[in-house]
């Protein structure tokens, strides 16, 4: 069983050595390990990666080259997506700055409002991360901020 804490003993009450403890008794009637200890043993096995990795995939020479080609294509495809995405953001930023400069010339007062720092800005709570099966009622219009409720 588990050792109890002894006052002043230097060692942290560690687990009793569990290796080699027989968890399945020969005759099923005798339970050799208590539920708590059994839970810890399963916990330990959950943590260790032993016997949980699949066997290494052995490929022939041709298949190995085919696999590498697929991986290279996938990496190139991801690179393309990233560069496209960044160019879209760059264009958006340029258009924001151009718009701001035009506004600065045409109407200074509007420019000040547009250029104000939005420090406490929040996204609406209902704008959730899109899921495959969204709920029937997507947007709760009657939600009030706690302050307003009082």
């Amino acid at each position: 069983m588990l050792t109890q804490t002894t006052q002043g003993s230097l060692k942290q009450p560690t687990l009793q050595l569990l290796r080699g403890l027989r968890t399945k008794s020969k005759n099923s009637r005798v339970a050799t390990v208590s539920a708590a200890t059994q839970r810890i043993i399963t916990g330990l096995s959950v943590l260790s990666g032993r016997k949980k990795y699949p066997r290494i995939l052995k490929l022939s020479n041709e298949d190995l080259i085919r696999h590498d080609t697929i991986q290279a294509a996938w990496a190139q495809y991801q690179r393309d997506i990233r560069t496209d995405r960044q160019s879209v953001l760059d264009k958006q930023y340029d258009s924001i700055i151009n718009a701001m400069e035009d506004l600065k010339i045409t109407n200074m007062e509007l420019f000040k409002i547009a250029n104000k720092k939005e420090k406490g800005k929040r996204f609406p709570l209902d704008a959730r991360i899109p899921v495959d099966f969204p709920p029937n009622k997507v947007w709760h219009y009657e939600v009030k901020a706690p302050a307003e409720k009082k």
């Binding site: 995939l57 490929l59 022939s60 020479n61 041709e62 298949d63 190995l64 080259i65 085919r66 696999h67 590498d68 080609t69 697929i70 290279a72 294509a73 996938w74 190139q76 495809y77």
Partner: protein, 364 residues
């Protein structure tokens, strides 16, 4: 994409040979895998099993992962379109470096090129499969070299103190491999730092210079110097450096770069022998002597110097002729019973015998 998958699947059943071809502009044979493997590589493993496996038992047992054929078809077309774009850019590129870089990029993901490079002899390459004139094979070989060969050579040069004893340092740009082809009949590449018997080193070595950068090799010439920094200098109670062999004005190409007897006989007059070969003849009871082979790019200048004296200052020589060191190799020699025969063969005086225990005489 879907339509091409169905076609390639039924072709696999009919097994009438693959119709996939890369976007290669040149028709170099090494850009294609050998027909024995090509169909399995491009269209997927046939029911009879992968051709690269020898025994029928393992061929029968082998099953390739699910979905690899469809995924490969899509990947092949995608990468092929990228390669066409790269070839188009390469066509306009003027600067040779950039042109080579673009051609490399175009062929780097060609499965046939990767197959040829992975499963064929890389050092004594058969241009049918690996042709170092193509920039992509040089790039693959350079990565392969930096993964093992370069580190091993630099480690041996450092631990055996070839740098700084001969030249101060080295930025390796070419792979130098060395082999002794002489009366012994041995046919094995020498690993850097290995101790060789005097019988093996009786006649000059054959040096292979594998360049990787995109250069015009028709103009550039090469120089090879083999120096021995451990010749005992008894009067000054120290060691001095001697030159064992020197060749200059050597012209090589990316494939034909093995300076061996065949090449030396073929272009007899074209190259210049700075000094004839003096084999390692170490003295008894002295520590092992190091023989460091340095390879330099001469550039366009031709080096027609002939040395008589064996004493040699390699740093001064390199400075005078502005040689650019691109690679090095090292082997070691110890005294053995055969040194006496080698001295007689070369008409050298008998070696001095030293006491086994190191004396206490000061340097100065």
């Amino acid at each position: 994409m879907l339509r091409s998958n169905i076609i390639s699947q039924c072709r696999r059943l009919l097994s009438t040979g693959t119709t996939k071809t890369w976007a290669s502009k040149t028709t170099a044979p090494s850009l294609k895998a050998s027909t024995h493997y090509r169909d399995a590589l491009l269209d997927g493993i046939p029911s009879t099993g992968p051709p690269s496996l020898r025994s029928r038992k393992y061929k029968q047992r082998y099953s390739s992962p699910e979905g690899i054929n469809e995924a490969f078809d899509v990947a092949y077309d995608f990468l092929k379109s990228k390669s066409e774009a790269a070839y188009a850019k390469a066509a306009e590129a003027k600067d040779p470096q950039e042109k080579a870089q673009l051609e490399t990029q175009a062929e780097l993901h060609n499965p046939e090129v990767n197959f040829n490079f992975a499963y064929n002899e890389k050092l004594e390459n058969d241009t049918q499969y690996i042709d170092y004139e193509l920039p992509v094979y040089r790039e693959l070989k350079k990565k392969h070299w930096e993964n093992y060969g370069q580190m091993l050579t630099m480690q041996r040069l450092e631990t055996l103190a070839a740098i700084p004893d001969t030249l101060p340092t080295l930025e390796p740009k070419a792979e130098i491999s060395l082999k002794f082809q002489n009366h012994t009949g041995v046919n094995r590449w020498v690993e850097a730092g290995k101790k060789l018997s005097s019988n093996a080193t009786t006649f000059p070595p054959s040096v292979k210079i594998q360049e990787f950068d995109a250069l015009d090799l028709t103009k550039g010439k090469y120089t090879i110097l083999i120096v021995n920094p451990d010749v005992p200098d008894i009067e000054n109670n120290t060691y001095k450096t001697q030159i064992a062999w020197g060749l200059s004005n050597l012209s090589i190409t990316y494939n034909d770069n093995f300076i061996n007897p065949a090449k030396l006989l073929k272009d007899e007059g074209k190259y210049n022998e700075i000094i004839s070969y003096l084999p390692p003849v170490p003295e008894k009871n002295l520590p092992a002597q190091r023989f460091v082979t340095w390879v330099f790019r001469q550039g366009e200048q031709s080096l027609d110097i002939q040395l008589q004296k064996r004493d040699f200052d390699i740093r001064q020589f390199v400075e005078d002729f502005k040689l650019e060191a691109i690679g090095a190799h090292i082997w070691r020699s110890e005294w053995d019973l055969n040194v006496r025969e080698v001295r007689e063969l070369y008409g050298l005086p008998q070696g001095t015998v030293f006491a086994k225990v190191k004396g206490t005489r000061r340097l100065r």
